[in-house]
Symmetry: C2
Subunit: 474 residues, 2 copies
C-alpha cells in the first residue's frame, strides 16, 4: 500500500514537474522542511500575491520599463571610467532618495579607465572592403596609421598551434565556431596573448554570438604576463567567415587595423546602495543587485540596465506597499562590472566581516526576459527553503530553482559560502544583443520586466521576513 502510494506520488510529482515546471534539476524533490516552516512560508502567499498584482497589473505595471527607458535614453552607454557613468550614478542616488529608500549612498570603487577612441579595420587584398569591428576592453591601440599586415585565419587554438610557423608578423583571425558563451569567449579573452606567443602583431576575433546581422560585439580581454601586448578586436561572424573562405582559396589577405584604444589613469566610481532597513535584525541582509555600468555601445539596457532596474524597483515597490521585513533588504547597483567585476570585488572585500549576516545575495545580469525562477548556489537545506519560497511565484509561473548561480558580481560571495541566486529567465536571444549596438530598450519588454521585478521583490521580502535564517552550511 505504501509502495503503491509512493509510486502514485512520484508519478504525480513527475506530471507536476512536466506540467508546471516547479521542480527542476531533473530530480524528484528530496526536500524535507519542518511543518511550521512550510506553514509559515505558505502564509506569505497573500503578501506575495499583493506584490505580484501591484507590480504586474497594478500601480507599478510598466514602471520598471519606463524608468529604465528614461535612464538609458538620457545617459546612453555608461563605460567604466567615463563621466557619463558617474553622472548616471548621481542620477540614481537622487532617484533612490526620492523614492524614500533608506541609507542611500555610494561606496567608493576605483575603476580602470580604458577608452576606445577611433578604430577601423580595412581589408586591402584581395579586395578593398571595410571590416566592421569593435576593439576589446583593455586592448592596446595600434601605432598611428595602424598596423598593415598579412593575415592568417584559424578555426581554433589547436590550428593556431599547428600553424605557429606561419604566424610571425601576421594578423591572426580567429573564426572559431560558437559552441556556448563560456567556452567560446575564451577566444576573446585569451586570443591576443595566444597569438602573440607565436609572433602575431594583432588579432581579429569572430564575435561571441550565435546570430548576427553584421553585428560586431565587444567585451573584455586580458593579456598574459610577459607576452607582448598586441591589439585585439572582434569582427562579425560574416566577415570572419568571408576571410576564412578567402584564405581557404589561397588568397593573400592583407588588412589594416587602426585603433586609438588606450588605458588612462584609474578613476573613482561608486557602487550605489539603498535599503529598506530591517525592523528586527537590520544587520542581517538580503541583497538584490545588477550593474549600472555598461559597454560603450548600444544603451546598456539589457546588460545590465534591466538587472539594475528590477533590483532597485523591487525595493521601491516593497516600500510603497509598506512592506518592511524583519531583516534589511539592500539593493546594490554595481559599478565596473564589464571591466572584470571590479566594483563588486572592492565592495565584497571591504565587507567580508558582514558575510555571516548575509541571508541571500541575488543578482540579475543575463537578461530580464520572462522569468523562470532562480539559479542557486548554496547548501541543500537553504535550497529547500528557497524552493518552498519560490513555490509562491506560481501565479507568474516562475517557480524554478536550478544550480548553479550565474551572477558574476556575487560570485565572490558565493565562493566564500554565502547563498547566492541569479535571475533565471527565458534568455535564448541574450547573446544576439550582448555587448553590441543592439543592446537597447528594443530588447526589453515591459511585462517581462514587471515579472522579474515582482520575483525579486517577493523573494527578497519573504527571505528577509522569514523566522529562520537561510543556512550557510548543511
Amino acid at each position: 500500500m505504501e509502495f503503491k502510494f509512493s509510486i502514485a506520488v512520484l508519478l504525480f510529482c513527475w506530471i507536476s514537474k512536466s506540467t508546471f515546471g516547479d521542480i527542476t534539476d531533473n530530480e524528484i524533490d528530496q526536500c524535507w522542511l519542518p511543518e511550521n516552516l512550510v506553514n509559515e512560508i505558505e502564509s506569505y502567499a497573500p503578501t506575495v500575491n499583493k506584490i505580484i498584482n501591484e507590480t504586474v497589473n497594478g500601480l507599478y505595471k510598466g514602471t520598471t520599463w519606463q524608468e529604465l527607458a528614461t535612464f538609458v535614453d538620457k545617459f546612453g552607454p555608461r563605460l567604466s571610467g567615463s563621466q557619463v557613468l558617474e553622472n548616471s550614478i548621481d542620477y540614481m542616488l537622487d532617484k533612490l532618495v526620492k523614492h524614500g529608500l533608506e541609507n542611500v549612498h555610494g561606496e567608493k570603487a576605483i575603476l580602470p579607465h580604458w577608452v576606445r577612441g577611433k578604430e577601423s579595420a580595412t581589408l586591402l587584398q584581395p579586395r578593398v572592403k571595410d571590416i566592421a569591428m569593435l576593439g576589446l576592453g583593455y586592448s592596446v591601440g595600434t601605432p598611428k596609421g595602424g598596423i598593415t599586415a598579412l593575415a592568417i585565419v584559424v578555426k581554433s587554438f589547436d590550428e593556431l598551434r599547428e600553424r605557429r610557423n606561419e604566424v610571425p608578423g601576421k594578423i591572426v583571425i580567429y573564426n572559431q565556431d560558437f559552441v556556448n558563451y563560456d567556452e567560446t569567449v575564451l577566444y576573446r579573452i585569451n586570443g591576443a596573448s595566444e597569438a602573440a606567443k607565436f609572433g602575431a602583431v594583432a588579432v581579429l576575433i569572430r564575435s561571441i554570438t550565435p546570430v548576427s546581422i553584421y553585428s560586431p560585439h565587444t567585451g573584455m580581454m586580458t593579456y598574459q604576463p610577459n607576452i607582448p601586448k598586441i591589439p585585439a578586436a572582434c569582427i562579425t561572424i560574416e566577415d570572419a567567415a568571408l576571410l576564412n573562405r578567402m584564405a581557404d582559396r589561397g588568397k593573400t589577405i592583407l588588412i589594416n587595423i587602426s585603433m586609438e584604444a588606450q588605458t588612462l589613469p584609474a578613476v573613482k566610481s561608486r557602487n550605489t546602495i539603498a535599503e529598506i532597513t530591517g525592523s528586527e535584525s537590520p544587520e542581517k541582509v538580503v541583497v538584490v543587485s545588477g550593474h549600472l555600468d555598461s559597454w560603450d555601445v548600444g544603451q546598456g539596457a539589457m546588460d545590465d540596465g534591466g538587472g539594475a532596474f528590477i533590483s532597485w524597483n523591487s525595493l521601491r515597490i516593497l516600500k510603497a506597499l509598506n512592506l518592511r521585513p524583519r531583516r534589511t533588504i539592500r539593493t546594490i547597483l554595481w559599478t565596473g562590472e564589464e571591466m572584470g567585476t571590479v566594483g563588486s570585488h572592492q565592495y565584497i572585500q571591504s565587507h567580508t566581516a558582514d558575510n555571516e549576516k548575509l541571508q541571500l545575495v541575488m543578482e540579475s545580469d543575463i537578461g530580464t526576459f520572462t522569468p523562470i525562477g532562480l539559479a542557486f548556489t548554496g547548501p541543500e537545506n537553504a535550497k529547500c527553503i528557497l524552493k518552498k519560497i519560490m513555490s509562491l511565484l506560481k501565479p507568474i509561473n516562475a517557480t524554478g530553482v536550478r544550480n548553479p548561480n550565474e551572477g558574476p558580481d556575487i560570485t565572490e560571495w558565493v565562493d566564500s559560502g554565502v547563498p547566492g541566486a541569479s535571475l533565471w529567465t527565458d534568455n535564448g536571444k541574450y547573446f544576439w544583443y550582448h555587448h553590441t549596438n543592439g543592446d537597447t530598450m528594443s530588447v526589453e519588454d515591459p511585462h517581462a520586466l514587471d515579472l522579474c521585478a515582482a520575483l525579486f521583490a517577493a523573494v527578497s521580502y519573504v527571505t528577509a521576513e522569514l523566522s529562520v535564517d537561510l543556512p550557510h552550511k548543511n
Copy 2:
C-alpha cells in the same frame, strides 16, 4: 456508397494535405487533366529523380553554394551603374560559356547610376549620438555640411497629416510599425514626398524589417512629381524607437544629416543570357531567372545571388546530365533590379513579340531557403499542369503551388498573360537581412541551395519537354 467513398477520399486528401503539403491554397484540388498527360508527367519521375539526386547528393552537391560564394566574395556588392557590376557580368558570361551553355550573351540595358557617397546622421540634442543610417536609392544628397534641423517623430502617414502644421523646416522621422513588407515599405518609397508636401527638409525612416541588431536597411525610394526632393535615409528600429520615446517625453530633438548621394549619368549594363536550346521547338522558351545586381551593402548573396545562381546552375546541371528538352530553357540574370526592375523592363519590352512562345517564366528573388514549391500566376489549366509537374518534387518535399507569383522581374510578363512562377521557400527570416550589410553568404545554406537548384532544374526541364504547351488562357 459513392457519397461515403467521396467523404473518405476527401478526408484522405485533407489528411494528405496536412501531412505532405502537396495541395495548397486551402482548397481541395479541382484539377482534371487528360489521362495521357497525367501518365506523361508521371513518366518524367525517373528523370526528375536523377536531377534531384545529382544536384542534392551527387556530383553537384554543394556546388551552387561554392560557385555563389566564390562570386560574391570576389566582387562584393554590385550596385546598378557600378563598374564592379559590369565586371561581375563579364565573369558570368565567361563562366556560362565555360560550362558549355549555349547562346551565351549580354543584352544591353541602360541603368540609372545612383551613388551613396559618404553619409552620416548625428543626434545633437537632447544628447550627442551617432545614428546608424543608410541613404535610399534615388535620394538626393544634402548640401555640404549637411542639414541640421529639429525633428518630429510620427508613427504613420495619418499622424503626419494630423500634425502637418508642425512639419515645415523639420526632419520627419517615421517610426511606423512593421506590418508586412508590401504594406510597410510604402514609408520607405513615399515617405520623402509625403513629408516634403508639408515642408519637411529631410526624412529618416525606420528600416523595413521585423528584427534588428541595430541594423539599418537601404532600398529604393521615389519622388512624386512637383514636390521638392528632400534627402531620405533609413535608420534602425532601435533609433527610431529611441527618438520616438524622446519626442514623447517632450524633448527637443536636433539632428544633423549629411549625405553625398547623387545620381550620375545613366550607364550601359547587360542582362546576362544563356540557354539550352530546344531540340524540337527552340523558339518556345522556359525562363529561369534571378538578378545579378544588388544593393551596395553586404554581398548581395541572398538578394539575389542565390536566385541568380540556382537559375544558371539548373541549366548547368541539365547540360551536364545531357538533358536537352524539346523547347529551349533560358536563364536570364537580370541587371538593375534594385533600382526598379530596370533591366527586366527593357528586356521584356524589347521581346514582346516572343511572349506567345514563352511556356513559363520563373524567378527567384525572395530567398533561396528550403524550398516549399512555386508561387504561380496564370490560368487554372496551366496551374493544374504545373501542380502535376510539382508532384514530381515529392522526394524533396517541395510540391507546393500557391498564388500569386511574387517575382518582381517577371511581373511585366505575368501582367501580359505569360504564366509565371516564383520560387516559394521557407523565407521567414528574409527581411532580417534584406538590403543590409548582413546579406552575406552566412545567410545561405548549401543544402537549401541544392534543393532550390534541383527544383528549378526539374520544373524547367519537364515544362520544356512536355508534349503540350502550357496554356496562356483558360
